[in-house]
């Protein structure tokens, strides 16, 4: 039977920001599939012009309520490189711990609050509080651990207060670090419980080959700085970010699209996993093996699993980072500097993928030019082409309107898009 239908999801729920899915099927065949971002732009690249460099991270962190630490650190990294400021080693370690906290918080939010209801067939996490209280509790406790790490290192979980140019303005107390270390040990069991739950979920089978982009420094699982690499073999310097993004506008989206070697590419947990599998903690590798996840995986739904694997990496490596800080006197945390003219890119691995801030300063340390390219911007084109391929596959398998709609929603959500961030 040949069918006609339109799927028009206005403001897709359970994602950050406003995006629409538009699909039309004529005579049983896919006629059109679009990922249309309709978010209002805020113009951060213009706002920072004329602002003192030291104030910029406080402004750019407001690009995103979920990954404000990443935005703050991307700005700090670009401005420090532009003005040739080298932060002390202790500050570098504190910042890394902050990134871990943010990623854990963000992944837990996505996995338990936004994605899990799809797999459980509920509209939100609230019914899961009744049906799977132990799973929701595990999710909440992991999210809280992430937030506690962020609060200890940045003064606050959303919109950091102590991440500053030259280092950090205040070090966490040793007592607090020791408490969080204990919390981290205790909560390993929660993560195992969460993994057991996710193991019972059926991940849709769908593969569309693409290029995965991430940072890589070859020494640790990537979070702050490094080379820009892709699974198609591209390797570029951090300052050459424009060659790794090639941003362009499309008429149906207020967020831009990017491409590298193909029509689209992907950033995020799965991209990091695919490019940096060798740098993962052994416990994270074990978790990946239990899910049958191996590099290079081209199923976008497995991004959820890659996020879970990263949670294992974070929980497993946090204790060693805290021990390093506990051995330190935590005194040398901030370098003073003189404003100067310069230009550089700062790249960090935000929870949703590689995030670039490019900044140019004048001799008074005021920003004269800025450019920010956000992970979701880099995923837009991939989401768009995936939607097309997924809808075609589902129709070929004889799936009806409701099933196609549900799969398409799940697909977009599996990217964990951060839309207001992408329209910064």
């Amino acid at each position: 039977m040949k069918v006609d239908f339109n799927i028009d999801i206005h403001h897709l729920p359970r994602v950050e920001g406003h995006g629409d899915i538009r699909i039309s099927v004529r005579d049983g065949k896919l006629a059109d599939a679009k990922w249309a971002v309709v978010e209002t732009p805020r113009f951060f690249e213009v706002m920072v012009k004329g602002l003192s460099a030291e104030r910029v991270p406080f402004l750019t962190s407001r690009i995103c309520g979920i990954c404000s630490i990443s935005h703050s650190l991307a700005s700090i990294r670009s401005l420090e490189r532009a003005m040739q400021i080298t932060p002390p080693e202790t500050a570098r370690v504190i910042r890394l711990l902050a990134m871990h906290g943010e990623t854990l918080q963000s992944h837990a939010l996505h996995l338990f609050f936004l994605a899990a209801p799809d797999f459980a067939g509920t509209p939100s996490v609230v019914p899961l509080l009744q049906s799977h209280p132990e799973v929701v509790e595990a999710g909440l406790m992991l999210k809280e651990l992430g937030n506690e790490l962020s609060i200890a290192t940045c003064g606050r979980a959303t919109h950091p207060v102590s991440l500053v140019l030259g280092g950090v303005s205040k070090a966490p107390s040793k007592q607090r670090l020791a408490e969080i270390r204990r919390m981290n040990v205790e909560r390993r069991a929660m993560l195992d419980r969460a993994s057991d739950f996710f193991m019972t979920l059926r991940i849709p089978e769908f593969v569309r080959e693409t290029e995965f982009i991430s940072l890589r420094d070859g020494e640790s699982y990537p979070y702050i700085g490094g080379n820009l690499v892709s699974t198609d073999g591209v390797v570029r310097d951090e300052n050459d970010y424009l060659l790794m993004t090639n941003e362009y506008t499309v008429d149906f989206s207020t967020s831009k699209f990017t491409r590298v070697s193909r029509e689209s590419s992907a950033a995020g947990a799965l991209a990091r996993f695919n490019n940096n599998f060798d740098q993962l903690h052994p416990r994270a590798k074990e978790a990946a093996a239990a899910f049958g996840l191996q590099p290079v995986c081209h199923n976008p739904f497995m991004n959820n699993v890659a996020q879970l694997v990263e949670c294992h990496h974070i929980v497993a490596s946090t204790e060693a980072i805290i021990d390093q800080l506990l051995d330190d006197d935590l005194k040398d945390i901030r370098t003073s500097y003189k404003p100067r003219a310069g230009a550089a890119t700062g790249a960090v691995e935000a929870p949703r993928g590689v995030l670039y801030h490019y900044m140019e300063t004048d001799e008074n340390g005021k920003v004269v030019k800025a450019d920010c390219i956000i992970p979701t911007t880099q995923n837009n084109a991939n989401i768009h082409h995936d939607l097309h391929a997924l809808a075609e596959q589902a129709l070929a398998e004889g799936k009806g309107e409701k099933e196609v709609e549900k799969l398409c929603e799940m697909l977009v959500r599996s990217y964990d898009p951060c839309i207001s961030c992408s329209v910064h």
Binding site: P13, V46, R55, C64, I66, K170, S420
Partner: protein
């Protein structure tokens, strides 16, 4: 007893976002230890960020974000028409927020810089929501303080009076026994900003940027004197005052 027209126990609540980072909404999912209890107070009717259920019979609307595009005005008015109580939720909604930093550039320049020739709808200014609708309560903060939100929501549920601290951030900062940042040579807006955040910024050794707006009865003249007496930069002071758009009326003073 009936207060503000509510007689049910659970508050029917909707959460809506406009131009913003959604960081304030996200605070609703924080403070994990008390979250299940907090959620038990609420009947969430509409909260796109965490639920696909969309029901339009909410009593309380938490409205986050500033208004920067024409279609947002219509959506905001529809929410106002439905809600018995409308709360301006966060600094963007209360003051226009840091989004107002774009106000100093012509909108054509903003569009050209970011989008080139592509047509984009944006207003010249970032507006607070009270520029278009009546606001019943304001909860400032960038982001909002979850404890304050809980207190205010519980106050609505238990029909108790609601208020924000009238005193400035300095009071909370001194309670936390911090070294004053003015003594370290920094300009801090703590003496004139509304408390309620537990002085989180100065406690992290970072100057307050006034995200909660002015406290009641501030002494602006003596604040500017303090900055001058300490030999600090008034240019820096003005950059900070303009940061969240909460001090516009003072910025235009002869300070």
């Amino acid at each position: 007893m009936n207060h503000l027209g509510f007689d049910t126990e659970k508050l029917k609540i909707g959460s809506f976002d406009f131009t913003c980072c959604e960081g304030c909404q996200l605070q609703l999912a924080n403070k994990e230890a008390t979250l299940p209890e907090f959620l038990a107070l609420l009947d969430i009717r509409n909260f796109r960020e965490i639920s696909s259920e969309r029901l339009d019979d909410y009593d309380i609307a938490l409205v986050e974000g500033s208004i920067t595009r024409s279609d947002e005005v219509e959506r905001l008015k529809a929410i106002r028409a439905q809600a018995k109580v409308l709360v301006a939720y966060g600094t963007c909604a209360c003051f226009g927020g840091m989004n107002a930093q774009k106000n100093k550039f012509p909108k054509e320049e903003c569009i050209r810089t970011v989008y080139g020739d592509k047509e984009i709808d944006t207003m010249q200014e970032s507006h607070k929501i009270s520029d278009f609708v009546t606001v019943d309560y304001s909860i400032p903060g960038c982001p909002v303080n979850k404890e304050e939100v809980e207190r205010i929501v519980v106050s609505i549920a238990t029909r108790s009076p609601i208020g924000l601290p009238k005193y400035p951030v300095c009071v909370e900062c001194k309670q936390r026994l911090n070294t004053c940042l003015f003594d370290l040579g920094e300009v801090c807006l703590g003496p004139i900003s509304r408390a309620g955040c537990d002085a989180v910024c100065p406690s992290g050794k970072t100057p307050c940027l006034g995200c909660r707006g002015p406290a009641d009865d501030i002494n602006y003249a003596s604040f500017t004197d303090l900055v001058r007496d300490k030999g600090l930069s008034t240019e820096e002071m003005r950059e900070k005052l303009a940061f969240y758009n909460g001090f516009t009326e003072y910025l235009n003073h002869e300070g």
